[in-house]
């Protein structure tokens, strides 16, 4: 397969396949998780302002007192790469063009220098997070193959995308094709790995907030 054929495949068949698996996977996973349901809480509720599922969905984005100081790399690295990913994925002009072709509508993006800066920060943050996972005993202890694998699945699309834009190492077409391929791998594995927290994080925070909110505890 030549470079162009490779690019054509990842842009066509590969992309369709990846998006199909992603959508189907997300649907199946959401169904298999949330269809389990839960029992109604019969205890007499106590209400408190700020104690609810919705409150917790938002509140949990902020570190509890003392935790930031305790685990700065986890928090700051986490913030930087999550926000970085959102900027890169949704505010980079070529990506917006891609979504426009797919969805039929678009939105304003950021100047490419800004996205480039976000990409560099994201790469640094992801490397720091990886270093933290290797060096911190708790993280290393908890880590399984999936943790390293999903790190790579997240890192590679950012790296290849940034290198393609910077025309580094490989010809643009090849790097672009690799970039798209790594994104497709990310899409295929996301529903079936811990990356699925991108969806379930809202449900988890909501359940926690609701269950404890019933007791009048704002978690």
């Amino acid at each position: 397969m030549g470079e162009l054929q490779f690019l054509t495949w990842v842009r066509g068949t590969g992309l369709n396949l990846a998006i199909s698996i992603f959508l189907l996977g997300v649907l199946v996973r959401l169904l298999e998780i949330y269809s389990l349901g839960r029992k109604k809480d019969l205890a007499e509720p106590r209400s408190l302002a700020g104690a609810s599922g919705m409150n917790t969905v938002f509140r949990r984005s902020i570190p509890p007192e003392g935790m930031l100081k305790n685990s700065p790399i986890t928090y700051i690295g986490g913030y930087v790469f999550h926000i970085g990913l959102v900027i890169i994925i949704f505010l980079f002009a070529p990506h917006i063009k891609f979504f426009q072709d797919l969805l039929g509508f678009s939105w304003p993006g950021l100047p490419s220098q800004a996205v480039d800066f976000a990409a560099v920060l994201t790469i640094v943050a992801l490397l720091l997070i990886l270093f933290d996972r290797i060096s911190k005993p708790v993280k290393r202890y908890l880590s399984t193959f999936q943790d390293w694998f999903t790190w790579a699945l997240t890192f590679l699309p950012v790296l290849t995308g940034w290198m393609a834009v910077q025309h580094l190492l490989l010809p643009y077409t090849t790097m672009l094709a690799l970039h798209i391929l790594t994104v497709e791998l990310l899409l295929v594995f996301l529903p079936f790995t811990k990356l699925f927290h991108a969806f379930t994080v809202f449900g988890s925070r909501w359940y926690n907030g609701t269950v404890n909110g019933h007791k009048g505890v704002a978690v």
């Binding site: 298999e32 927290h197 978690v219």
Partner: protein, 427 residues
């Protein structure tokens, strides 16, 4: 698979619900929950990371409730949960978890880890993997009526002593009383002042109250062990007593888990809501104070701090009342770092204090509490849980610290002027 393991697996499959599925699917192995757990912070051993304590349950969830997991199981790619593994996990699920719930409030993806540990214990208990110590406590509660083996005559003897000492009647089985007062064996045996305090407080407030001869013990080792059937039996005694005596409110004693068992799990264990209210004694005191029914005289002058029982504060939502009450009777009340919602556990909650083989670890974990004390150097510690009190006394003894621990209800009662026998409300 052994019969007991089969039973445990069946129970685990039953307790896994959408929240648990969502929590397991959300965990990113960030390890932040470890920083919230005193068993990790004080030992530095990563095996005490809260989410790790659920590993067998997570695998079972994956193998039974996810399409991919079932597929992996089918082709033999997954590791089944074994008897040996669950036995190994006993230390993680019981000895090193007090159900304090700090992990559940720091998890960035929002996982309610303690909710899962509580459910995991159902499977551990069903598969015969609960520690002997709590099992014994649960069995004694079922057969004798209390985890410490306290029987009605012992309660009656204490009642007589208290009546003599305080000059106030201790009613028993009084139908139509407003409050049914529950005790913990610890209070019957070690802290009878509690009963005297209640008598003084109720007398001043002009409220009617009663003990019950068929239900005086509020602690629930069935819940701690993770056996809902036993927990239900224990709770049902109290529910039946409350209904028989037609009380409006059942008062949980100064005991954190008794409060959780009655207030939050009780109705769910029974499968129906209650026609009466359940309140912790601190909540009742808070209400009396607000209504002007609680009038104290004088102040403690030594340096006091308050230890929040986890089940009362973080897990039960009672945080302000104890502070108002402390300030009512104290001129020198200081807060420890992390006090209130984020307070650190005494290290012996959730049944842990009944586990003999967990004592060494408990003492290690107590260093956290010690560091909180060291930060404010109090003359005395006040709390509202008889179990916290005993565990802290043991810890303080272990570290040669001379720091008395007292109950808040008694301290409040000490500042109530001696009884001028008031007429009960409505008479």
């Amino acid at each position: 698979m052994s019969a007991s393991l089969e039973k445990g697996v069946r129970v685990l499959k039953e307790v896994i619900d959408a929240p648990i599925a969502s929590y397991f699917s959300s965990c990113v192995h960030c390890g932040l929950c470890a920083e919230a757990c005193l068993f990790y912070t004080e030992t530095g051993d990563p095996k005490y990371t809260p989410i790790h304590k659920l590993e067998p349950m997570r695998r079972l969830y994956e193998q039974e409730y996810t399409v991919l997991g079932r597929l992996k199981k089918l082709i033999g790619l997954s590791k089944a949960v074994t008897d040996a593994e669950l036995a190994e996990w006993q230390e993680l699920v019981y000895n090193s978890c007090t159900l304090c719930g700090r992990c559940s409030v720091v998890c960035p993806v929002g996982n309610d880890i303690v909710y899962m540990v509580r459910k995991f214990r159902e499977g551990m208990s069903a598969s015969g993997n609960a520690p002997v110590g709590i099992k014994g406590a649960a069995n004694r509660t079922i057969t004798i009526g209390s985890p410490m083996g306290v029987k009605l005559p012992a309660v009656k003897a204490q009642m007589r002593h208290v009546e003599e000492d305080y000059g106030l009647p201790i009613p028993m089985d009084a139908e139509g009383a407003e409050y049914l007062v529950m005790l913990s064996s610890m209070e019957i045996m070690n802290f009878p002042e509690y009963l005297g305090a209640i008598a003084k407080i109720m007398n001043q407030a002009g409220k009617t109250w009663t003990l019950c001869s068929t239900a005086f013990e509020a602690t629930n080792a069935g819940m701690q062990i993770g056996n809902s059937d036993l927990a239900r039996v224990i709770v049902s005694r109290i529910v039946e007593a409350a209904e028989k005596l037609k009380v409006k409110t059942v008062i949980s004693p100064e005991c954190g888990h008794a409060y959780t068992a009655l207030r939050w799990e009780g109705a769910n264990l029974m499968g129906r809501s209650f026609g009466f209210k359940v309140r912790h004694i601190i909540e009742v005191l808070g209400e009396f104070q607000e209504q002007g029914l609680l009038k104290t005289e004088g102040f403690e002058t030594d340096r006091l701090t308050f230890h929040d029982p986890c089940q009362l504060a973080r897990r039960g939502g009672v945080i302000k009342q104890q502070r108002t009450l402390m300030n009512m009777v104290s001129k020198n009340f200081v807060e420890m770092p992390d006090a209130g919602f984020m307070n650190w556990c005494c290290g012996g909650g959730g049944g842990a204090s009944a586990i003999e083989e967990g004592e060494e670890l408990r003492m290690e974990a107590f260093k956290k509490k010690k560091s909180q004390f060291d930060a404010v150097k109090p003359d005395r510690v006040v709390t509202a849980c008889a179990n916290c009190r005993i565990v802290m006394e043991e810890g303080l003894e272990h570290y040669n610290m001379n720091l008395p621990v007292v109950g808040l209800t008694e301290m409040i009662a000490d500042h109530i002027p001696n009884p001028v026998v008031a007429k009960p409300e409505g008479s």
